[in-house]
């Protein structure tokens, strides 16, 4: 694929984007990750924010919402484990993640978060089923661990929902690194709107006022943060608006805004409206995570996004 900027190349719309690349080849390498990783970005965020929402539901006495949030959390973290192990080059060695604890590796930090969060979310959800258990001993044991597990999961949840932005940010992938200041806010916003949406989707209208408010706060945070992120990314922000990433992030915006309108206007009155709004929000979060993932991959493939910001920081 011979490609030079000497001839036959479109004139770039970006000022001063002329430099000589090595046959247009990428400089940095795109992460060798499949769809498992953006799926995990969504699922991990959903799990974390759902554990928080479960605590909120407990405090406000919305027992059905609490139970459903716990089930969402445990399902999402379970699927996360599978996705993360599946994406390894050597899945049989996943346990090697536990050899070390390294603050310089966001993946190591994340491993320890999910290692403790998963069982907490699991026991917390299991205790919701204690009435179905015949054995009295197991039932009372589940009751005993209910609160510690729920609080433990909720304590780790904010870290689970935000650290994945650092995971992406601490790479030479231009679109991920250049947005590191705002991406944690994009991700917690996306987590909150997904968990709120899932709460609205699964729980009766009368129980889910807190889920709706959580979702609204999430949409507002995400939309504001992604706009700020685009501004600080400079030239690299092109990757958020073009190609697959552009389409996904546009879909995400349409879904979150329509989900927001639905949450405010229809969801408090109609079960069906609540389901539709919740589903839109959950889908929006999926699109956001896949969109940001794809923007990063696209930014790695074009040497322009590696070279140009470095050249301007040079002078």
């Amino acid at each position: 694929m011979p490609k030079t900027n000497k001839s036959g190349r479109e004139v770039p719309m970006v000022p001063k984007a002329n430099f000589t690349s090595y046959y247009g080849n990428p400089i940095v390498k795109a992460a060798p990750w499949g769809k498992d990783i953006p799926a995990y970005l969504f699922l991990g965020g959903l799990a974390g924010a759902s554990s928080l929402l479960a605590l909120g539901a407990e405090v406000t006495g919305n027992n059905i919402l609490r139970r459903n949030c716990k089930f969402t959390a445990v399902g999402a973290i379970g699927a996360s484990y599978l996705a993360l192990i599946h994406d390894l080059g050597k899945p049989s060695r996943f346990v090697n993640m536990l050899r070390v604890a390294k603050p310089t590796s966001p993946m190591s930090v994340g491993t320890w978060i999910i290692t403790f969060y998963g069982p907490a979310a699991g026991f917390s959800a299991a205790s919701e089923l204690r009435h179905l258990v015949n054995s009295k001993r197991i039932s009372s044991l589940l009751k005993l661990i209910n609160k510690p597990a729920m609080i433990g999961a909720a304590t780790l949840a904010p870290a689970l929902s935000s650290y994945t932005a650092v995971l992406l940010g601490n790479t030479a992938t231009p679109a991920w690194h250049s947005g590191f200041k705002e991406m944690p806010f994009v991700f917690v916003g996306s987590s909150a709107l997904a968990a709120g949406g899932m709460g609205m989707l699964t729980s009766p209208v009368s129980q889910s006022a807190i889920a709706r408010r959580f979702a609204v706060a999430g949409v507002a945070t995400e939309l504001f943060a992604i706009k700020k992120m685009e501004e600080s990314m400079g030239l690299v922000s092109e990757t958020l608006n073009s190609g697959t990433a552009g389409q996904l992030l546009k879909a995400s915006k349409i879904l979150s805004i329509s989900g927001l309108i639905g949450t405010l206007l229809i969801a408090p009155k109609s079960r069906l409206g609540s389901i539709a709004s919740g589903a839109a929000l959950v889908l929006s979060s999926i699109c956001t995570r896949f969109g940001i993932f794809e923007a990063g991959q696209a930014s790695s493939r074009d040497p322009k996004y590696t070279v140009m910001p470095q050249k301007s920081s040079n002078s």
């Binding site: 090595y22 090697n96 993640m97 904010p158 650092v166 991920w176 709120g196």
Partner: protein
């Protein structure tokens, strides 16, 4: 979090806890005397038993190797760069004379063995480690192929090996080891040993830096103004490379990043931002939970 490795000029092996570490070892690749023979590529493959990774015609001058990767630990770049034709004499074009209208740029690229190595920082298993020679090496019996080092490298060097499950180390991150086995036995790495022009020089990094400085001054004296050193500055964005280069043009011409910075330097700030976002999530939930 204090990042103690940000002190320029310090042997990273010592910072990693090696006691009585030998002098830091490295490469000086002087591209001005590279003849593009690819002996380094071949020697590396043979010594390190690196599998074949595609015999394609790439249409990029004499470079059918493409780029560094899991199964390419030395890569010779070829650029046929047009230059202004020498002035014609008496109206006769000088085309075909002893002065060609282009120049060869040939450069054997390799892992930089950074002082501040992004791949090493992000590795979650400890498979990547700093050797006593100050180099960065993957332990292939530890790596679980998470792939995080791949986007973390600002030079695009390390990669996860693809291929059939029966091939060696498939699914595992791979890159140059600076021939850890050979240098441990007091030998020269395979590529430098095979280089017929001493374009690739191996030795104590301090000494190589002096040699590089002498060479660049000589080239500048001879009027080669575009010659420059790459990776030799301990104050650059990676704390200086263990493999330094003498280039004849801008780094990006050779497919090298012009001013790479290890992203770990921003990590304390990143954790702070994530902490603030986590707090915002808690505040959001608390606000949503308030009885109205």
């Amino acid at each position: 979090m204090k990042l103690q490795f940000r002190e320029p000029g310090i042997n990273p092996a010592v910072l990693s806890g090696w006691e009585d570490a030998p002098p830091r070892k490295g490469f000086f690749t002087d591209t001005s005397i590279c003849i593009g023979c690819k002996a380094c590529e071949v020697a590396c493959k043979e010594w390190n038993h690196v599998p074949e990774d595609g015999l394609e015609w790439l249409g990029t001058s004499y470079d059918n190797t493409g780029s560094l990767g899991a199964s390419t630990w030395r890569h010779v770049a070829f650029i046929e760069q047009p230059i202004a034709k020498p002035a014609s004499e008496n109206g006769i074009a000088s085309n075909g004379s002893a002065n060609p209208d282009f120049r060869w740029l040939m450069s054997s690229d390799v892992c930089k063995h950074c002082t501040e190595a992004g791949c090493l920082d992000v590795c979650p298993t400890g498979a990547l480690f700093r050797t006593e020679f100050g180099t960065v090496v993957v332990q292939d019996d530890i790596c679980n192929g998470c792939g995080y080092c791949v986007p973390a490298c600002p030079f695009g060097v390390i990669d996860r090996r693809d291929g059939s499950d029966s091939a060696k180390n498939v699914g595992i991150a791979q890159k140059c080891t600076l021939c850890y086995d050979r240098i441990g036995a007091g030998m020269t790495p395979a590529c430098a040993q095979a280089c017929p022009t001493e374009s690739i020089q191996f030795g104590d990094l301090d000494e190589l830096r002096v040699r590089a400085q002498e060479r660049i001054e000589l080239l500048h004296q001879q009027g080669n103004k575009s010659a420059r050193l790459y990776g030799e500055d301990p104050n650059d964005g990676i704390g200086g490379a263990g493999a330094i280069f003498l280039l004849l043009d801008e780094p990006e011409v050779y497919g090298l990043p012009p001013n790479p910075v290890v992203t770990t330097r921003d990590l304390p700030e990143m954790w702070k931002r994530a902490g603030a976002a986590a707090l915002a999530l808690i505040v959001g939930l608390a606000a949503a939970s308030l009885k109205r």
